[in-house]
Symmetry: C2
Subunit: 492 residues, 2 copies
């Protein structure tokens, strides 16, 4: 179980895959590109879900559920969206299996159970939802509609990686309908801000908020806002997107509303989503060569207590102290595990909880009983200290905030150190190869230049940051005029 | 919106369908047999989920997530299970669409993107999960595995009804693995008891706990336990099932474990589930001709406050009282809505909240301001009374428990009145036709008799109740010996 990982330096990608599996987060399944999310990984995702769901509800959103399948004729209605996803959709064509006449132990697709119209497994739900909204919206009184759905979606990816890119993944997708363009835009911005706030305050992950270039937009969107994070290996990761969809879907599905002054207009739309990909972002923001490092706010176990003992009598004495501490810590609202299994040794347990990223570890041995102390270890800094038993509850509780803060500061510092202003294409390529990270560079605003830079360097424009300075400059590639810097990076 | 419903007496089935749609619970979608669960309906389901999830976790279960798709070769591995579901599975055969060369605005399935092996959309997850457990289980130390998953599943039903029978539905499915038969059996019984407890304490719905006859068992199970409820029209509804799977799946997927004394044995299994079908059960247990009646513990809005006013000044005065009351009620942990919309009249709002089953309504008019009173109305009894403003918080809070209890007692009484001991086949048919409900009758224990009774009457054996008296008798159909009564009914 607790065997050591490949180091990040040696092979970052291998380290990541090993960590995900060994820490019990997820594993590949028998279905190409689909993963199994294991209980420990799912417990982290549940914490993310609970917090995001709270933030959505606090801003007036309600959950609902729409069908998994999208009839092909609806799927193709919004042309750009259909075009964007057609190449990666799983298609249901039949609704029955039957016994193979040549081998009674096998089943074959029953050719007589062919669907008249094929069903697409949703890669995203705009089509089925806007077809539904058509029935919900007649007048301005029916607006806004602020709905979110937690669901599974399928995109047939050729190269998959646990959490980062899987054929099936879990996500939430918000789909809102508004009477005005301004209101829809404000909604899209609000949700992008909520994602940024969640990333910072709960994942301890700094993100850049910005908008995508036209070529990087969601298929069918007029504008795509995003949060972009930087991973430890210098690659960027798109962590969430929020789309202003204009009236594209309202037009495709003919959704109009009677305005207050008696007119008839198409409805304005947004959609926004984050997925189990956030798990990958969380892992690659904080973890180290010993395993996962979790921010306390998302850790399923925040404090683990490990007894170090010989014989049942000593265990009983230690357990008395441990159970008292555990009860007091739980009283403070902390999630505590007391691991008194006798099937594993303390050293094995230490390594295991380091691998699983438990923020604080308390060890209690016979000497601690004499001295009234415990050993308190932090996962983020890997430091240890002896603490008086009557101080440990306060101390461990305070560490939750301290570790949460430290992780954020550490990753923010990393990002700052790995965001480089570059002013020529030579410099661009050099920094990209040798240092990685975000390159802040002038760009002439054309899709052509963007494509050429990607072709030559594999770097893409991650976003046009909202907080960029407006400054005149010249495009690093074309030498043409630019009005501000954008962020380039290689990305997941 | 608030138009009156077809009465239950007139057409129960029509009443149900209208209620589900008009109360904003769910509606049919563009996908054959799949429903859209609307925000208000989903909010009730979320309350059910939260409570069940808590009960599962309190009994040591963890959540995880397994793939939506099951490769055909895995699906067919457990023969009985495969046979049981083969006729109703949606099958993915292709992973790409392409532009129709004959009409560029259309998409067609790309014949070059045919899967080598078809993927079944899970109708239940035993196959994919036991194939995964094979990798998780080596030794007795790895047992038990107590895992649950919240997921969508698809069963291609020919005749569908909102919540009761839909092609896609939401559910939870627990899948556990054990070292001994006794432990697995105890788990299956524990989970059936938890379902019964949830039904009684939260849904205010009495259920009979029992086991299914062999012909009614889950495909692949050695024993199926269940909870059976009785709807207002005298038909039974299977509300939850818990299966003891023996070693069937362990054998099909070759899952063995090293025992403590050095042997090698197949693992024992259970699975158990409840679904969005519970929504249908909830509706048909309590609701009336005015609409939904919700037990307070599952009501998204527990108290609604409606102002009755003329002009803005009066509204302001009433709002002051209403907002104060709302705050105090929320302080008590109640979910409160103050509906001061000026787009709808009070009468419309009253009808709407009756339709949506809000347990308690408080109305405040100008006379109440003078007298220091409010009008307090109960949804379950449709009674109203005037209450002093300084007593209304206590009163409304107490009503939550009172209404919850009353609903349970009422439905329990209904069930008792509609459970009839019958001692001949004539009596059986007569009671079934004229009164409906559960028929408690002696049965000879053979599948043949069971099938014949079903053929002649459409009644099935709902369960062999755990609490039945062991008494000798003669089968109502065959006249052969019987050792106890079983419950027959027509069922959803």
């Amino acid at each position: 179980m607790a065997k050591s990982l490949t180091s990040r330096k040696e092979d970052y990608s291998k380290w990541y895959n090993e960590l995900v599996v060994k820490a019990g987060l997820a594993e590949n399944s028998a279905v190409r590109g689909s993963m199994v999310i294991k209980p420990y990984g799912f417990a982290i995702w549940e914490k993310m879900q609970a917090q995001l769901d709270k933030m959505f509800k606090e801003t007036g959103h309600q959950n609902a559920y729409f069908p998994l399948f999208v009839p092909k004729s609806l799927f193709e209605a919004e042309e750009k969206n259909a075009e964007g996803f057609a190449k990666e959709v799983a298609v249901v064509t039949h609704y029955r299996l039957k016994t193979d006449p040549e081998d009674k132990s096998k089943l074959i697709v029953d050719p007589e159970a062919k669907l008249e119209e094929e069903l697409v497994v949703r890669p995203t739900s705009e089509a089925i939802i806007w077809n539904t909204y058509k029935g919900w919206i007649q007048s301005y009184r029916d607006l806004p509609i602020l709905v979110n759905q937690w669901a599974n979606v399928v995109r047939w990816e050729m190269r998959t990686r646990l959490f980062l890119r899987t054929a099936e993944f879990l996500w939430q997708e918000g789909h809102t309908a508004h009477a005005t363009k301004e209101e829809a835009l404000a909604e899209a911005h609000q949700m992008n801000r909520i994602y940024a706030q969640f990333a910072r305050e709960f994942m301890a992950m700094p993100v850049v908020e910005g908008s995508k270039t036209e070529s990087e937009r969601f298929a069918g969107a007029e504008e795509t806002l995003c949060i972009e994070a930087l991973m430890q290996d210098g690659k960027a990761l798109q962590a969430g997107t929020s789309h202003f969809l204009g009236q594209n879907f309202a037009k495709a599905f003919d959704v109009k509303f009677a305005t207050q002054d008696g007119g008839l207009e198409y409805v304005w739309a947004t959609s926004w989503g984050v997925s189990t990909r956030l798990m990958g972002a969380l892992i690659m923001t904080h973890s180290d060569d010993k395993g996962l490092v979790l921010p306390p706010k998302l850790a399923p176990i925040q404090v683990v207590i490990v007894p170090i003992y010989k014989g049942q009598e000593q265990l009983a004495q230690i357990s008395e102290v441990a159970n008292k501490l555990a009860a007091e810590l739980r009283q403070k609202g902390l999630s505590v595990k007391y691991d008194d299994r006798d099937t594993q040794k303390p050293g094995w347990k230490f390594a295991q909880y380091e691998l699983q990223g438990v923020p604080v570890r308390i060890a209690i041995g016979p000497k601690d009983l004499e001295k009234g102390t415990v050993e308190l270890a932090r996962r983020d800094t890997l430091t240890k200290e002896f603490v008086q038993q009557d101080e440990v509850v306060e101390k461990a509780n305070a560490l939750m905030e301290e570790i949460q803060d430290n992780l954020f500061k550490r990753s923010q510092q990393f990002r700052e150190e790995h965001t480089t202003e570059v002013n020529s294409f030579e410099e661009f390529k050099e920094v990209l190869e040798e240092k990685g990270g975000f390159l802040s560079a002038h760009w002439d605003g054309t899709a052509e230049t963007e494509a050429k830079i990607q072709e030559e360097t594999k770097a893409t424009i991650r976003c046009i940051p909202f907080d960029r300075k407006e400054e005149e400059g010249v495009c690093v590639y074309s030498g043409k005029k630019s009005t501000g810097r954008v962020l380039f990076a290689k990305a997941y």
